[in-house]
């Protein structure tokens, strides 16, 4: 009887011991083999620049083995919330923070553009292989649900030889909140008063028409499968997946195909304000591609921890100079020289 009665107590102790081991064990076991990095920096935010950011942090770690930068791609909204709450050392976002959001910050937050991305209209029309040209009126009309047929005069005028069919246009957009959507609707808001008043801009909007696909791959899948459809995806995604994408007419009246050079041209043409919060959709400039955007790192202007401050400012220096060469192989457009110069000055604001 005595043996038996001890059993539950022993069991409890074993369970409790296991719980303690679970809590304490892994840290002790895993920390031992390699010395912990002298500096650990945590960041979170936008998913769109994740490939280039992870490349950068990896390369930077190779140069400075004692520095580890962790980045969680939880979305721009999460990046803004976390930097405001002070739970990360830096945030990242595809759309600049609003004045209201900046007002909530206890420590002033600085924006640093890192690379550029573009969004392109992609389509699947039976019997049309030509590269289509889209006027701003055509894109806004299609997404407002006012242009419903592919042979609408607005489309045929810009594409005389394209033999567009009289079928209904199936509109596809992103269903998840995303920086890609932000760039697309920011552009539509600039070129269409009606869009601005009815729909507006944001990472998610109340779409007047269309099907929603989750992620670039969701939109691409719907467009590929649905005859006579149009959607929008990031340039990098369209290039990597060899999807047809159209030209867009810029504010100078030229039809421009999205290429890394034409995206950088758009960034160079737009005047840069001191806080770097700028939209470069529909930018001036003869060769500027109109549907493009910066993506930003969010860094607090005051960093108490001296070691962290040094790492972050050093990383920003490296990213703006050596780091830019990693952008183009990953289909991000690099920053124009003027922007780099301006940012180099801004780094000194971090105290």
């Amino acid at each position: 009887m005595k043996k038996l009665s001890a059993f539950p107590l022993v069991l409890t102790l074993v369970v409790a011991g296991m719980a303690v081991a679970l809590i304490w064990g892994p840290e002790k076991q895993w920390a031992a083999p390699s010395p912990p990095p002298a500096s650990l920096i945590n960041g979170a935010g936008a998913t769109f620049p994740y490939p280039i950011y992870s490349k950068w942090f990896d390369e930077y770690h190779k140069l400075h083995p004692d520095i580890q930068i962790n980045y969680q791609s939880i979305g721009s909204g999460g990046g803004i919330r976390q930097i405001l709450a002070g739970t990360v050392d830096f945030g990242a976002t595809d759309g600049p923070m609003s004045d209201e959001q900046l007002g909530q910050a206890k420590i002033k937050i600085l924006h640093f553009p890192t690379v550029l991305g573009a969004v392109v209209p992609t389509y699947n029309i039976s019997g049309v292989s030509a590269e289509l040209k889209f006027t701003p009126e055509a894109l806004a009309g299609i997404y407002l649900g006012k242009i419903t047929k592919w042979n609408d005069a607005e489309l045929t005028r810009a594409n005389p030889g394209a033999n567009l069919p009289g079928d209904d246009i199936v509109v596809v957009h992103r269903s998840d909140g995303s920086g890609t959507t932000y760039v697309w609707v920011d552009y539509l808001s600039k070129v269409s008063e009606e869009w601005k008043a009815k729909v507006g801009k944001g990472t998610s909007v109340n779409w007047p028409v269309g099907l929603g696909g989750k992620g670039n791959e969701g939109v691409a899948g719907l467009v590929k499968q649905t005859p006579n459809s149009i959607g929008y995806v990031e340039l990098i995604y369209a290039i990597q997946n060899k999807m047809p994408y159209g030209q867009a007419r810029n504010s100078s009246g030229n039809f421009i195909k999205a290429e890394l050079a034409s995206v950088t041209a758009a960034a160079a043409a737009q005047e840069m304000p001191d806080d770097f919060r700028v939209s470069i959709t529909n930018a001036p400039g003869k060769n500027a591609y109109p549907i493009a955007s910066f993506t930003w790192l969010l860094v607090p202007s005051t960093i108490q921890d001296g070691a962290k401050r040094k790492v972050i400012t050093d990383f920003l220096h490296w990213m703006l100079n050596d780091g830019q060469k990693f952008a183009e192989p990953l289909a991000y457009a690099r920053l124009p020289k003027e922007v780099v110069t301006k940012e180099m000055k801004a780094i000194s604001e971090i105290k």
Partner: protein, 327 residues
């Protein structure tokens, strides 16, 4: 026993504490405590979940009140939020899913439990349990690459031609939409229904079947009139579990539903479900009201599940009262 005597003599304590100590030593109290903690953890998690959902949706509840449930707009830019299209999409896709999955699942379970040779039944049961473990994103991909093209090119044109006079089967045909989401849900929940129903049917005492056969019933009569009614509660239980999964399914649904918050009479039209919109928009939601509206949608889904589960339980009670072969 000697040790208990020591306790009694050496340390005079109040009676209750002594009794407690005694039970502690014999293990009952420890087992009781541990299992009680585990059981109350379930209760606590549920309470905490509801409390957090309620607390974190305060802004949206204050701003929109009960109107939230009947508003058809979902506009993150102008911050006007309503849940109705999402409730509609969730209920319709789950209903379509159950409508297809219940006859299919129960029928398959009857065959496997009653008619198939034991070896085949066991092998198939194993396969079905494997199906239940497939991640939903895989079902979503299956739907995108196989189901949606099939619906667009074959099934929906056929439905339009034959049943097109019904508003359910009218309108433009995209492939994705409420019907596609309902069908993929059906495929996902069938394994639950088959697996549990089969177990329940196999647990029906063999005497029940023998008695029915002895009374002159055919094989099918004994199954349909005796065995199935006997197992009714368990079969219904499997259907509820399937329904709960269908209501909360996120990934596969969002991949094929079309993600357009509209209320339409056609099953071909795109729709949107509660779980899908939360998953889609939460990561990029920045304003407080927007986040609170999304969390209130979570609360709505929770309550919707409770209501539908309650209705289902009432259904059980009603059918049991009719007096069947159920013990």
């Amino acid at each position: 026993m000697a040790s208990t005597a020591v306790v009694v003599e050496g340390a005079p304590r109040p009676g209750r504490a002594r009794a407690f100590l005694l039970r502690l030593r014999s293990g009952d109290e420890v087992a009781h405590l541990i299992t009680l903690v585990f059981a109350s953890a379930i209760f606590l998690i549920t309470v905490l979940l509801v409390f957090e959902l309620y607390r974190n949706s305060a802004l949206a509840r204050e701003k929109f009140g009960w109107k939230f449930l009947v508003t058809r707009t979902w506009d993150p830019v102008f911050e006007d939020f309503g849940a109705l299209p999402f409730i509609f999409g969730t209920v319709v896709t789950s209903a379509v899913g159950l409508l297809i999955a219940v006859p299919l699942g129960v029928g398959a379970a009857i065959f496997l439990a009653e008619m198939a040779p034991a070896r085949i039944s066991d092998a198939l049961a194993f396969l079905i349990e494997l199906l239940a473990a497939v991640p939903s994103v895989i079902y979503g991909l299956l739907a995108i690459f196989t189901l949606v093209p099939l619906l667009r090119t074959v099934v929906q044109p056929f439905l339009k031609k034959t049943l097109g006079f019904l508003p359910l089967f009218q309108g433009p045909n995209y492939g994705v939409g409420l019907l596609a989401a309902g069908i993929i849900l059906a495929i996902m929940i069938v394994p639950f229904i088959v697996s549990i129903s089969r177990e329940v049917l196999m647990a029906v005492p063999v005497e029940q079947r023998e008695a029915a056969l002895a009374l002159g019933a055919t094989r099918w009569e004994s199954i349909w009139k005796v065995v199935v009614p006997y197992a009714r509660a368990g079969i219904l239980g499997s259907i509820f579990l399937a329904m709960a999964r269908a209501l909360g399914e996120t990934m596969a649904v969002t991949m094929v539903i079309g993600n357009d918050p509209k209320i339409t009479s056609s099953l071909f039209a795109p729709g949107y479900s509660i779980a899908a919109v939360i998953a889609n928009e939460f990561t990029e939601a920045t304003s407080d009201l927007y986040i609170h509206a999304l969390i209130e949608l979570g609360l709505v889904l929770f309550i919707l599940t409770i209501i539908l589960n309650g209705l289902a339980r009432l259904l059980i009670l009603a059918t049991q009262r009719k007096g069947t072969a159920h013990p």
